[in-house]
Symmetry: C6
Amino acid sequence: MSESIQLIPNGSLITATPEEGRQLAVKMARLIIKATQPDAAIRERLRPLYAEDPALLIAIGQTVAIEFTTIAAANNCWKKADQLK
Amino acid sequence: MSESIQLIPNGSLITATPEEGRQLAVKMARLIIKATQPDAAIRERLRPLYAEDPALLIAIGQTVAIEFTTIAAANNCWKKADQLK
Amino acid sequence: MSESIQLIPNGSLITATPEEGRQLAVKMARLIIKATQPDAAIRERLRPLYAEDPALLIAIGQTVAIEFTTIAAANNCWKKADQLK
Amino acid sequence: MSESIQLIPNGSLITATPEEGRQLAVKMARLIIKATQPDAAIRERLRPLYAEDPALLIAIGQTVAIEFTTIAAANNCWKKADQLK
Amino acid sequence: MSESIQLIPNGSLITATPEEGRQLAVKMARLIIKATQPDAAIRERLRPLYAEDPALLIAIGQTVAIEFTTIAAANNCWKKADQLK
Amino acid sequence: MSESIQLIPNGSLITATPEEGRQLAVKMARLIIKATQPDAAIRERLRPLYAEDPALLIAIGQTVAIEFTTIAAANNCWKKADQLK
């Protein structure tokens, strides 16, 4: 695991829109894989395995879904804070 | 992963009804698979594998369940906000 | 995936009792499988695979558990609202 | 799936203690398996497979953990309501 | 499943520190396995399978993570109650 | 499982930034594996299996995602407490 990889782009869970939050969830899921396997050549070799195996595609979907739960909660908290102003 | 695919239809987690929220959960789960495997021909080839393998059908169900947790939370927050008016 | 299948019976997550909420969780989990594999003959052929494979039985249990988390949260919110009256 | 099986013993998620809540989580997880495979003879035949396969033992643990999340949340809510009296 | 095994040490989810909460999560995950397979000799025989199989090590990690979510929530609730005094 | 391993670095879930929270999630996930398999030589032998198997890489990502949910919730609670001052 390389400690030097930034795990959250821009260092924030807050996004302007749900769509951007969803994209962040995808990126955060990928960055854990990158940090666990920092060798780009190996990741490149593994990529077709992900993208053509239904079980792995679904497992990626589950990971993104869990990441998105956290991101949505962080953003909902802020929005509710806004509504209380 | 294609960055150009919209990951949340209409860009919003808010739906008028739980049924529409459930449909959104199904769509969001599918769109992550589409974004991870943007080649429609490959997805078409994989589809029967999903739909006839009990383990994969259940795994899809788990993914939708997690997505729906987030959508339901987002909508509950709004409903509670309504009740406070 | 057939868009015409109703994914939430009665269109509501609210139930009178936890027992009914649990039954709803089971039904919602099944309806995602039905929507992903709309062919009743294929589902009938897959059913014994689910019911006699310990790993699949446990996986079904996990799916129901996640669905029930959402249903319980929706109903708890309402109950708490009642208590505040 | 047999509709006649009671899925939540006593029909309530509320327990006097966390220990009883944990026991309820174990029972609720088992009852989904029972409802999915109502034939006691088949369940009896599958039982040694669960209890001697590390992967299945861990999967059962995950299911109980998810069930317990819901039960704990339900009970925490009530306890907090008590504290507000 | 032996009903006589205590599933939560000390019968409480509340711990003085996050570290103790994490240790509790590990113990609670193990106790479900113990309750599902009460035979110590069989558990001892399975232990090396857990500890040398990467997939099982990760699955144990997921179980602990879920247990810890519940424990952390229970403790956060109390801490917030303290802050309101 | 070695009881002497510290499971949460610095004994706290609170971090200054989301990025540090994410790093904590990675470390907490690893420490459970270390506690379950305390033999460094065996862990070293297993490491390439993790890092070159797509299914295991994704499973690690799911574990980190769950850990991060807890860490984010703990930190959100504090931030909201700050906003109320």
